[in-house]
């Protein structure tokens, strides 16, 4: 579409059948809960019914007396002396002195059947002393809020801050006051977003086995088997190499499966039960009460704008609670908030705050959607006030390659301008709107990530290839990596099989997170294929009796590089592979690195809504996602990522929220009450793939998985204002909230 200096490809950019398609539509794919083993026990977890309570005593005697119960564990069965993130993970896995949120695990049991384990869990008697709790981030940051944990603040927090602030940051450049003085209009707004869950269809599930010799195995639904290994080893005091972790097929992750929850419990129970494997499958209620949603946010933004739409300065102060442990994505939210805009004067302040809620986990572009909600909403409000076209203002201020990002460094190759221009040209923007209908626009940004990566490729005897990767496929990376490998080797797509392998098969891989799998594992697979090609050229050269440098690889075969190299017919990959046992043994390739050249991705969304003035219901009429993919290796999967991000963002904007009662107990821990969008809630989501190739990847790939969830929150708020005149500055924008805003707007 633009800036494309890459050659035409044979396979890259095509849409072949998905390698996992048949398994998934026939039910043959093995997910976490599908794994069983002989002699297996079932685990069940006892969870705190209180948001904050001292654990006075735990009496396990009635459970242990029940027939079929083989093991009970409490925190007393875990090693002591851990620090830092290991301690946080252990404390979250199993409460120590205090239960820190509703759903916090306090004991676990293993028995011969699932029902027996659940029955035994009910027989464990826990005595609590209920303590004051705090749920909302603005309450949690007050100086007199209930203290979640003394001494949890890290070195970034200056003396004198409220006790639940555990991380603090300031950054920016220029002089914001001088920048505001240059503006014709300065406006500020206060915005709030609720914590939302990733809402993956597959609940967490694992089968863990650990012997008294410290050797163990785990089969688990995860985005990162090496993270599971490292975290379980840390929590249980094991040697990492003694734990072998095999990932299952995965029914969604979106960041929520990059950490541990009940996995160490299955291993601890197994060890106590004499090494019998223990299976734990979470219920949906457990998933919502005890696994990691994203953070909730309270945000203040101030922006200066000239009459022509030029931004002169911006300031953001974000406060986020990520549950009872440090780690809310307030830093990433601030980094992304103003990223689409060229700003000479910008300041950011962030607070990571503890509250009595589950430990947050990553969720698709962690933090970026919240920041976008605040910034993109305020920019839209200012455009309306000045009578400016929000698309033109975004283009006028758009960052380009070489511009200094709001968060500091200069941008390398980026495609924001191309994305905005493609958005402006889309026919959806010309569709007429009726009564109570409105249109909203918003931009979004995500960095993307590289991470530790190790990939191996093996040529089979028939000239086909197997690629072993360590990044579980949560969005089509097996197909994309197969396409890139086949393109590089010059063989059909169907001749490449990509396998996600266990921890013993490769060097350490970071999880599939940060939109990195197709970029990082894909780049490593291409380089591994190149290594195999070099060896195949060497084998052909040896057969022909010429120098390896005189051989080149063309269309899946070795051939003399030119007339001076000799006259030999091309030797195909199948011919070379068929003789490899006689010419030196197996042919393979391998690459491991933290790959350079990550390409950031910008997106722009346009949504048309209709608001029912009687009920406050918001209906999505039309939805457009435009995003820079760098290069779409398998465009259908890229479009799926765009649509999936938008769908999750729509749910976050309109319905999803954790609802707590006055005792801090979650009131909606099922999908009937925690309302994610279903197919009938949404129109077909239109997509446009912009391709500004990333020069840091052999095929130009940028990660595409995360940016798409960022713009929907503000785009929908902007559309609602366009439709009704009412501005909503807090999520979710569900019917009661919309009705209240309509009433306030009418009264204004």
């Amino acid at each position: 579409m633009a800036k494309d200096e890459f050659k035409e490809f044979r396979l890259v950019g095509t849409r072949p059948d998905r390698p996992d398609g048949l398994d998934k539509v026939t039910g043959r794919a093995r997910y976490g809960a599908d794994i069983s083993a002989p002699g297996m026990l079932w685990g069940a977890v006892v969870r705190s019914p209180h948001a904050h309570a001292r654990i006075v005593s735990i009496d396990t005697s009635r459970a242990e007396a029940l027939e079929g119960v083989k093991a009970v564990v409490t925190r007393a069965d875990f090693p002591t002396g851990l620090t830092g993130e290991d301690w946080d993970l252990q404390e979250n896995t199993m409460a120590g002195e205090r239960a820190l949120y509703d759903g916090h695990a306090v004991a676990a049991v293993a028995a011969t059947s699932k029902l027996r384990a659940e029955e035994a869990a009910r027989l464990i008697d826990v005595t609590y002393e209920v303590l004051p709790h705090v749920i909302d981030v603005d309450d949690a940051i007050k100086p007199d809020a209930p203290v979640i944990r003394e001494g949890a603040a890290d070195a970034t927090v200056p003396e004198g801050m409220p006790p639940n602030v555990v991380r603090y940051m300031e950054f920016g450049h220029g002089n914001v006051e001088a920048g505001f003085a240059e503006a014709d209009l300065v406006r500020e707004g206060h915005y709030k977003t609720e914590a939302t869950h990733q809402g993956y269809i597959e609940p967490h599930a694992c089968l863990g086995q650990l012997g008294g010799d410290g050797k163990g195995e785990m089969w688990v639904c995860t985005q990162g088997q090496w993270f599971i290994r490292k975290m379980c080893a840390g929590v249980l005091g094991l040697d990492a190499a003694q734990l072998r972790v095999t990932p299952s097929e995965i029914g969604g992750g979106f960041g929520g499966k990059t950490t541990i929850f009940m996995e160490p419990l299955s291993l601890a129970l197994s060890r106590k039960a004499g090494g019998k494997p223990v299976k734990i499958v979470m219920t949906r209620s457990e998933v919502l009460r005890a696994t990691g949603p994203t953070a909730s946010a309270s945000m203040d933004v101030r922006i200066g704008m000239k009459k022509d739409g030029t931004l002169t300065a911006a300031r953001a102060e974000f406060r986020m609670q990520g549950g009872a442990f440090p780690g809310s994505p307030v830093d990433m939210a601030l980094y992304c908030a103003f990223a689409p805009y060229k700003l000479d004067h910008v300041a950011h302040v962030g607070y990571d705050v503890l509250a009595n809620r589950p430990k947050c986990a990553a969720y698709r572009a962690p933090g970026s959607p919240m920041g976008a909600f605040a910034v993109e909403s305020l920019i839209d409000e200012m455009c309306r006030e000045l009578g400016l076209d929000p698309m033109e203002v975004r283009l006028k201020n758009a960052v380009r390659e070489g511009d200094r990002a709001s968060y500091g460094p200069k941008f390398a190759s980026i495609g924001l301008v191309e994305t905005l221009e493609a958005t402006r040209a889309h026919p959806n923007l010309a569709e007429p709107l009726g009564p109570n209908q409105g249109r909203g626009v918003a931009s979004g940004y995500w960095f993307n990530h590289n991470g530790e990566t190790s990939v191996s490729l093996a040529i089979s005897e028939d000239g086909t290839a197997q690629v072993s990767i360590g990044t579980p496929d949560i969005g089509g990376s097996r197909a994309s990596i197969a396409l890139m490998t086949a393109e590089t080797l010059g063989i059909p797509y169907e001749d490449v099989r990509v396998n996600v392998v266990e921890t013993g098969a490769l060097g350490v891989n970071e999880p599939t997170h940060g939109s990195r799998a197709t970029f990082a594992s894909g780049k490593a697979a291409v380089l591994a294929a190149g290594q195999a090609i070099t060896e195949m050229c060497r084998r052909a050269a040896a057969e022909w009796g010429i120098e390896p440098e005189a051989v080149e690889w063309v269309d899946g075969a070795a051939q003399p590089a030119g007339p001076n190299a000799g006259k030999f017919p091309p030797m195909s990959i199948a011919e070379i592979a068929g003789k490899m046992g006689e010419t030196g043994g197996p042919i393979s390739g391998h690459h491991e690195s933290v790959p350079e050249g990550v390409g950031a991705s910008f997106g722009c969304h346009v949504v048309d809504v209709e608001v029912d003035p009687e009920t406050g219901r918001v209906t999505i009429l039309r939805y457009l996602v435009v995003q820079d993919a760098g290069r779409a290796i398998h465009p259908a999967y890229v479009e799926g990522q765009y649509q999936g991000g938008a769908a999750q963002g729509i749910g976050w904007a309109l319905n999803e929220a954790y609802i707590y009662d006055d005792k801090g107990r979650l009131q909606n821990p099922v999908f009937l009450d925690y309302r994610v969008p279903v197919a009938s809630d949404l129109p077909m989501i239109d997509t446009v793939i912009v391709e500004v190739p990333n020069p840091g990847h052999p095929y130009g790939v940028r990660g595409v998985g995360e940016t798409g969830i960022t713009p929907p929150l503000p785009a929908i708020a902007n559309a609602i204002q366009d439709a009704t005149g009412a501005r909503l500055r807090a999520l979710p924008m569900n019917p009661p909230a919309v009705l209240a805003a309509l009433k306030a707007a009418r009264g204004a």
């Binding site: 300031e170 572009a365 500091g408 460094p409 960095f447 997170h513 690195s593 350079e596 990550v598």
Partner: protein
């Protein structure tokens, strides 16, 4: 010498300086140099940061830092 831009709330560990100079030609050298000159930064650097050299997130400690490069210290970047 390499000029390193810190996030501004770290200035309380660097005598108020937002940009500090260290003698280094690799990312690891930059981090070690920062700790040597400003020991208060150690727990923050140990907990994980990203180093951005000329707009590119450095892949490892051995990544080169050319003379005159623009170096930014950022909170550790990752994702979902």
């Amino acid at each position: 010498m390499v000029a390193v831009t810190l996030w501004s709330s770290l200035t309380r560990f660097t005598d108020g300086a937002r940009e500090v100079e260290v003698q280094a030609d690799t990312v690891g050298g930059v981090l070690d140099g920062l700790v040597a000159d400003y020991p208060g930064l150690k727990p923050i650097l140990d907990s994980g940061v990203s180093v951005v050299v000329d707009g590119e997130v450095a892949p490892n400690r051995h990544a080169p830092v050319p003379e005159g490069a623009e170096v930014y210290l950022m909170q550790r970047l990752k994702g979902g």
